[in-house]
Amino acid sequence: MSEKKNPVVTEVEVTTFSQIWLTSLLEFLSGTRAFYFLVGIAALVVLIAAMFAVNAMYTGYRHAYGLTREIPWGILISGYVFFVLTSSGLCIVSSIGHVFGVKSFMPIAKRSVYLSLVTVVAGFTVIFFDLENPFRLLIWNILSPNLTSNIWWMGTLYGAYLFFMALEFLLLLLEKHRYAMLSGLLGLISLIAEVAASSNLGAVFGMLHGREFWYGPYIPIYFIASAAASGCTAIIFFTYLGYKITAEKMDRAMELSLQAVGKIWALFLAVLMFFTTWKIITGFVGGEGKVLALKEWLTGKYALNFWLFEVGFGLLIPFFLLLISGFKNLNQMFVASVFAFIGIFFMRVDLVVVGQIVSHYFEFKVTDFPVILSYKPSIYEIMIIVGAIAFCMMAFLVGEKVFKGHKTEIH
């Protein structure tokens, strides 16, 4: 006990501690009991994030979050978009197998369905702490729906999706062949709900005719392509990790499946590259507000986000790693997916924030607002996002253990 007060000893302990921690992390990948340690840490992070979130709720979001009336949407909305689009992507890619019956996509289906549920729940949790009155939503969404509002459609469709997907997952768990048809139908329904919901989420941005940067049919379409790309990322990331934990030998069907996912991923990455390029090129011949936002995005405060994270981590590195791997080397594909995950998160952040940074009255040379507004996420917002990521990680780990590596194939 007295040793702990000695600074030298503490220092040594800290270094050994970090060593132990690192080895534990590596050990975890081989499926030892470090697994429980990681689940514990994830749970702890979730708990701390929950404390932050509840604290923010009590102090009021105006004080807790770095949001202003000019920029009312911050990284919480980005986080929501990130999670629900990952969920959509998982649903879209896995449904090629279990809804449309393509044999080579079947092995990934079960894990994808589970993770799709987990990520959509994480997304809902994040938005719960962004809405000022989340409980009123439950009442007025039903009693006073505004059918012209994309938010309404998006919320309702994602709710429906969650319901159908949960049912489908239950049926998959029962592993009864006579339910196969029913679960396939449920899968189809949830796929339709999911695609409609994601494009509506895009339309939430795309239909704001007061915001030049977002306005237009671009974002709803972009979101579907982007969702598919992040779905592929998630499948490769989590399947790889799952197999590391259970140390199972990957059978040929699964390998083929991941290769197919990799090919689809490369396709969608290419599509996203086109989307990004043309978004920028068309933007520069547009209105002044859009040009200002684009300039800030490409050369201003968000240049690092754009060039390093979005273009580098999100698009180019995964694309080239995929090409190098020849869609065969799973280790390289996994590394690609790690990069892509980071990149995709920044894509979402930039999409949401850059759309709002140009001041409403910039064209009037107003001294009250700078032309480019600034937004810095507060620790509360960051912690909620970190908590949601930890929740996904925890749910994934627990899922691997409880559902035994999502082994049984869907027939």
Partner: protein, 148 residues
């Protein structure tokens, strides 16, 4: 024992991280609220013969600039003092007739700002009316000067 150590270590790390984040967040504090707008007598430089005066009555934020009138345009003191204005700054805003009507009749600023000697009093409002925003700017200037 090792596991316990790891767990405790991680706990402490996380808690200290959250603690630091929490404290730094709390210390940021609210932005300083500007006090109620008050009249300002601000000496830009002695050589202009007089201060920049911001009236707050009957409406807030009307600037008379010695810098402009004496420094740039070169009027002697006698052109206004003590016939139109007393030497004491802000004295005239106590007068009940210190209004735009009086200016239109040729009193106060209206003696020159009649459309002939200088632009008429009923035009170019925002030239002299710097408003509460202008007033606050001068208050900030004054406060930072007093600090020095």
């Amino acid at each position: 024992m090792r596991k316990v150590k790891i767990l405790i270590g991680t706990l402490i790390l996380l808690l200290s991280f959250t603690g630091i984040a929490f404290v730094s967040e709390k210390n940021k504090g609210e932005s300083v609220k500007l006090e109620e707008p008050q009249e300002v007598i601000y000496y830009e430089s002695e050589q202009f013969g007089g201060p920049e005066i911001v009236y707050v009555k009957p409406v807030r934020g009307v600037l008379f600039s010695h810098k402009k009138h004496v420094g740039e345009l070169g009027f002697p003191c006698e052109s206004c003092h003590n016939s139109l204005f007393e030497m004491q700054a802000l004295k005239s805003q106590e007068n009940p007739d210190f209004k735009m009507e009086a200016l239109y009749q040729g009193k106060y600023c209206g003696a020159c700002h009649n459309g002939q000697a200088a632009f008429a009093s009923n035009t170019k409002c925002a030239t002299c009316h710097i408003g509460v925003k202008g007033l606050k700017e001068y208050m900030r200037k004054l406060a930072s000067k007093e600090k020095k």
